[in-house]
Subunit: 240 residues, 2 copies
Amino acid sequence: MRDEITCRVCRGAIRPPARGRRPVYCSRACQARAYRSRRDPPVPVPVEAEPAGRRRQIVEAVWRIAAERGLQMATVREIAAEAEVSPRVVQYHFADKHDLLVTALRMLHRENEIRARERIIALRDAADPRVLLRATLEELLPLDDQRQASLRVMAAYYARSLTDPALAEVFLHDANPLEDLVAALITAAGPGPSIDVAREADLLVGGVSGLGLDLLHGRRTRADVRRTLDYHLGRILTGR
Amino acid sequence: MRDEITCRVCRGAIRPPARGRRPVYCSRACQARAYRSRRDPPVPVPVEAEPAGRRRQIVEAVWRIAAERGLQMATVREIAAEAEVSPRVVQYHFADKHDLLVTALRMLHRENEIRARERIIALRDAADPRVLLRATLEELLPLDDQRQASLRVMAAYYARSLTDPALAEVFLHDANPLEDLVAALITAAGPGPSIDVAREADLLVGGVSGLGLDLLHGRRTRADVRRTLDYHLGRILTGR
DNA sequence: TCCCTTGCGGTACGGACGTATCAATGACAG
DNA sequence: CTGTCATTGATACGTCCGTACCGCAAGGGA
């Protein structure tokens, strides 16, 4: 029934393998002959040509699953389905699942930095350090769907990173330039008297992280967080 | 070989079941007779009597695994091994795995509140609102092994709660009495002029959460966080 | 003596998981 | 025509997972 296969070209017998796809031709020559005599497939191969590449497509599927269903649901089969490819394609483009997860985190990291830079530069008053400072801090908050999804993914990854050195490394990669940036922006915006810009930057960045997590839970409203942020910026900076 | 069992008491034939432990007696009567004729087991049953109960023992195993290896490693079999019981015992004491995880989170929540209260009340200067405020905030930081383990577990649970309503409910259970408590303590300790205690409390609690997560990663030192906290408490409160 | 309850041992079931294996495909080079 | 390459299809393997099932142990109450 299942054994005894004959080559489609030369009618020779082929022995079926223990695993994998069942052979159709007995040799490369027969396969090439069949290919050539075909010439003009039913569909002229839409060649949709993923410009961003398969890897990118798969990584984005990881992000979506992690944000909507959590990292524990990001199995190879689920990721493949979400990316609309076969599981084999996932297997081909990444060494293993761990490699895929680490790559997805690294790419999200870069992505966030790029998008943040773009959004901040696009501001009309990009020259005003006060506006820059506010925008920089708000970049860490889930104030739109894109940032919310990103923060959800990052939160899931943070938890994993506590028990996975490879993931932790991504989080710790750049020491703390964010706090330094915020401190520099405070200095440029004109801090009030007896203000320790480094300490203020530390609490601001830490606070925005904490408040962001509350926002994800719906434990606070966006307006509430904005008001808190306004208050503290007004307190730190001179003039009004 | 495997079939054809005879009752240990009446020597009657028993048919082996398709699943589960193989029968030894043919009836309840024979089993009871064997039990009675035994009377005085090899070990006089030390009756170790878990004072805290099996459920507690199992839940603590969940905490340890979640803190050291992450929630995704908290499988029923791993939990049972960590608690030094059989998987069947875990199955018996909890409706299912999800019930166990939710229970473990709820118990940790209570545990943390109790321990925090004890530690704060044990302070010598428990009457001084300034000391109380500092202790309350430090309670959220991983400043010793116990609090560090607890925070690691909570971080793992937080990530899960983003995609698990039952877990989210535990986090959201009490609206935000912590911020209210901190605000009350600031008021009692004597805030400086033009200080909005509610806004200060919000950023302090959020900031301490964010800084605590950095501490878990080793992105900051305990001394650094303490200094930041000192600075802000000194800034908010009048007098020195 | 019998029934019932609480607690647990041991194991089986069915499915999902990450990964391995082998072949086919389409394009190109020699 | 043949070889090679990057990519993908189609399973199969072995393991682990959550849970279901059946029975034993020890005692309480009638």
